[in-house]
């Protein structure tokens, strides 16, 4: 087949406009960054849609973005703080938990939305072409709005407890980016798997729960023995959450060893995720 195809290729080669070639999927995967860029408006509209519909037909709307971490923070403070006496590294429990819940809640919901996005958009996927990568990307980006809203609540808490941010807060965007990339990387894997195996949908809540306990949300990372820190850092959210606590509350030291391991892992997950997702993309319309 390919031999005959090669000889017939260039009837259009002399033409001026770019020629789009549609052929069977090749064995390796290309990362369509250029194509994704040309579809940036669609990406924008998808993010916009996700945000628009999130709180439609809810009574208090975006207040949920504040209420969820706030309530969780209160429960954690009572159970883990007051009852279990877990150390908070000298921070008020409210600050200690909320600063961890900020990235964690973003991550958990972004991961969930990204995982379901292929299945939820299967009608669109089977009817029109666009780089499928835009779907999990939009899901992950849309979560940032909730993050922004709940961050405002954190500012209120900071004022209430009279905590002055240090220069470390300049690092916050970097840690946020790490959280976004983690959610995207894992989301790519799971959304592709979910398109083929719907079991993923049922596994996800457990995964998120386990993951939370494997991350320093309810306890400080300092409880983990130093010699195991690097291993602990293989969970990228450990680096993210420690980073958030450090840059927001200014306590303790920058999460060095953990962070290096986290960044390395995220890069691996992300590259693998893109490759796997792109492979899945070639058949998703037939399978989903």
């Amino acid at each position: 087949m390919s031999a005959t195809a090669a000889t017939e290729t260039s009837t259009l080669a002399t033409a001026t406009k770019p020629v789009l070639r549609i052929a069977p999927p090749a064995g390796w995967c290309e990362i369509p960054l250029g194509e994704l860029w040309s579809y940036r408006e669609l990406l924008y509209f998808m993010v916009w849609r996700d945000i628009k519909i999130r709180y439609k037909q809810t009574v208090i709307g975006a207040a949920w973005a504040v209420l969820q971490p706030l309530m969780t923070m209160i429960i954690f403070s009572l159970v883990f703080g007051k009852l279990a006496h877990i150390p908070s590294e000298g921070m008020p429990y409210a600050i200690f938990y909320y600063s961890a819940l900020l990235p964690w809640m973003y991550f958990a919901s972004a991961l969930q939305n990204a995982t379901n996005t292929i299945v939820e958009n299967q009608r669109v996927i089977t009817k029109v072409y666009f780089p499928r990568l835009a779907l999990p990307l939009a899901a992950v980006l849309a979560g940032l709005v909730d993050f922004g809203i709940s961050f405002l609540m954190f500012v209120v808490l900071m004022l209430y407890y009279r905590i002055h941010p240090t220069v470390a807060i300049l690092w916050l965007p970097a840690f946020l980016l790490l959280a976004v990339l983690t959610a995207l990387g894992v989301g790519l894997w799971l959304s592709a798997l979910n398109a083929i195996y719907r079991d993923v949908r049922y596994v996800l809540p457990f995964l998120v729960q386990f993951w939370m306990f494997a991350s320093p949300v309810a306890y400080p990372a300092s409880l983990v023995p130093v010699k195991w820190r690097w291993l602990y850092g293989l969970n990228p959210m450990a680096g993210v959450i420690e980073g958030f606590r450090w840059s927001l509350a200014g306590h303790g030291e920058p999460p060095g060893r953990i962070l290096i391991a986290s960044v390395g892992v995220v890069i691996l997950i992300l590259l693998g995720g893109v490759a796997y997702f792109q492979r899945m993309e070639t058949t998703v319309a037939d399978v989903v």
């Binding site: 087949m1 005959t4 195809a5 017939e8 290729t9 009837t11 259009l12 033409a15 406009k17 770019p18 020629v19 789009l20 070639r21 549609i22 052929a23 069977p24 999927p25 408006e41 669609l42 924008y44 509209f45 998808m46 916009w48 849609r49 628009k52 519909i53 439609k56 037909q57 009608r123 669109v124 996927i125 089977t126 009817k127 029109v128 072409y129 666009f130 398109a195 083929i196 195996y197 719907r198 079991d199 070639t282 058949t283 319309a285 037939d286 399978v287 989903v288």
Partner: protein, 408 residues
């Protein structure tokens, strides 16, 4: 410009529209861990196989074929929704595809929001949509409901809005699946008009439809897809005729009826009678799933006022199973210009008076069109139903008045 060579798409039967549960994979691994090597040959289905064609810039091409023949798969391949198994396609120009009305609509969003969303999904950028917004709203006739969530729209309104967005796509190449069958008749006409407008603006269009009149109005060229392959390709009229003849044949084979008239024509193959004064032959084609014995064929010519102008009956017909042609020869058919219905009936085992069974009755389509110069009275009131020339001579009388008086 589209160049397609050897394009094929293979599905594993059962794979399409199905997902796996991890359980299946695991249980297979447990129950048959050593059978992986002797992999069972899966059932494959070629939805499209070895299809090659070229479409020039600005051409409007229709795709016809029965359900499941692969038309939609071909569009999906060209619009990159799914990837081919073999061969390739080269496309030059921005492609927009319209495989479904309302792609990307979300029920919770308002009409206005959905216009932007659907537009973006179909490949428009925000500036395009801004520019076309008023036009889209006017076309869809939903101006009053722009800020109402889509879920409160009636189905008809949703369809109108969806088509309006899609109709204002302006890609260089437009791939359209059967989507013009939406809304009421009025709106369908509007849609078809819009499509004609688009096709005249020099865009390349590939258009799938089951409605041959739409194909006739829009397309210069037609490709007839059958079982995943191009069966015939060429000028619209020719291919549609072949396709219709084949599908009529197929339909009558499938029908339980004993007999079925498929078509009729005059001796020259048309339904247009230009000379009513010479011999006229009417050819009737029918399919018989069982033989007719001692049959009766009745034919009547009926005008617009349902007046039977003339009818004939033929008894004692023996018709074998299969395709049959009945040729009716008439020395002259001097009818006034106009359209006439031919009503045919076929009885088995006698005629309607001797206890025969009616096995087929057919108001022949198309009607018989008589296009001869009118020969009878110029006033309709006195023109009648026949169209026979008459000659009037004025003869100087050899009989004198005197003779007349002489008779007295």
């Amino acid at each position: 410009m589209i160049h397609v060579a050897g394009l094929g798409k293979r599905y594993r039967v059962g794979e399409r529209e199905r997902y796996f549960a991890l359980r299946d994979v695991l249980s297979r691994a447990i129950t048959a861990p050593f059978q992986r090597s002797e992999r069972r040959e899966p059932d494959y289905l070629w939805a499209i196989r070895d299809v090659s064609f070229d479409i020039r810039e600005g051409e409007v091409v229709g795709l016809i074929g029965r359900n499941g023949s692969g038309k939609t798969t071909l569009l999906k391949l060209l619009s990159r929704i799914t990837r081919p198994t073999t061969g390739f396609a080269e496309i030059q120009g921005r492609v927009g595809s319209l495989l479904e009305v309302g792609t990307g609509f979300h029920p919770e969003l308002t009409g206005r929001e959905n216009i932007y969303l659907s537009g973006a999904v179909l490949g428009m950028n925000k500036r395009d949509i801004d520019r076309k917004f008023d036009e889209i709203v006017a076309f869809a006739e939903v101006a009053r409901f722009l800020d109402t969530p889509l879920k409160h729209f009636s189905t008809g309104m949703q369809m109108r809005l969806a088509f309006a967005v899609a109709a204002h796509l302006e890609p260089e190449i437009l791939l359209v699946d059967e989507v013009l069958a939406v809304g009421d008749l009025e709106f369908q006409k509007k849609c078809l008009g819009k499509m004609q407008e688009v096709s005249k603006s020099g865009r390349t269009i590939v258009f799938v439809s089951h409605q041959m009149n739409q194909i006739r109005r829009l397309c210069e060229r037609v490709m007839w897809i059958n079982a995943g392959q191009i069966r015939q390709s060429g000028p619209t009229g020719e291919i549609i005729a072949a396709y219709e003849a084949a599908s009529l044949q197929q339909d009558s084979h499938e029908s339980l009826q004993q007999a079925c008239f498929s078509r009729w024509s005059l001796g020259d193959g048309s339904n247009l009678l230009r000379d009513g004064l010479s011999e006229v032959s009417l050819h009737f084609y029918l399919q018989l799933s069982a033989a007719v014995r001692q049959g009766h064929f009745g034919i009547a010519i009926i005008d617009n006022d349902n007046l039977v102008l003339i009818g004939w009956g033929f008894d004692n017909l023996d018709l074998g199973q299969g395709a049959q042609e009945l040729v009716l020869r008439i020395p002259a058919l001097p009818l006034r210009p106009g359209a006439y219905t031919l009503m045919c009936s076929l009885f088995d085992g006698g005629n309607n008076l001797t206890g025969g069974e009616l096995v087929e009755q057919w108001h022949a389509v198309p009607p018989l069109i008589v296009d001869t110069p009118p020969l009878s009275h110029p006033q309709d009131r006195w023109a009648g139903v026949l169209n026979i020339p008459a000659d009037l001579q004025v003869c100087p009388s050899t009989v004198t008045a005197g003779d007349v008086s002489g008779q007295e």
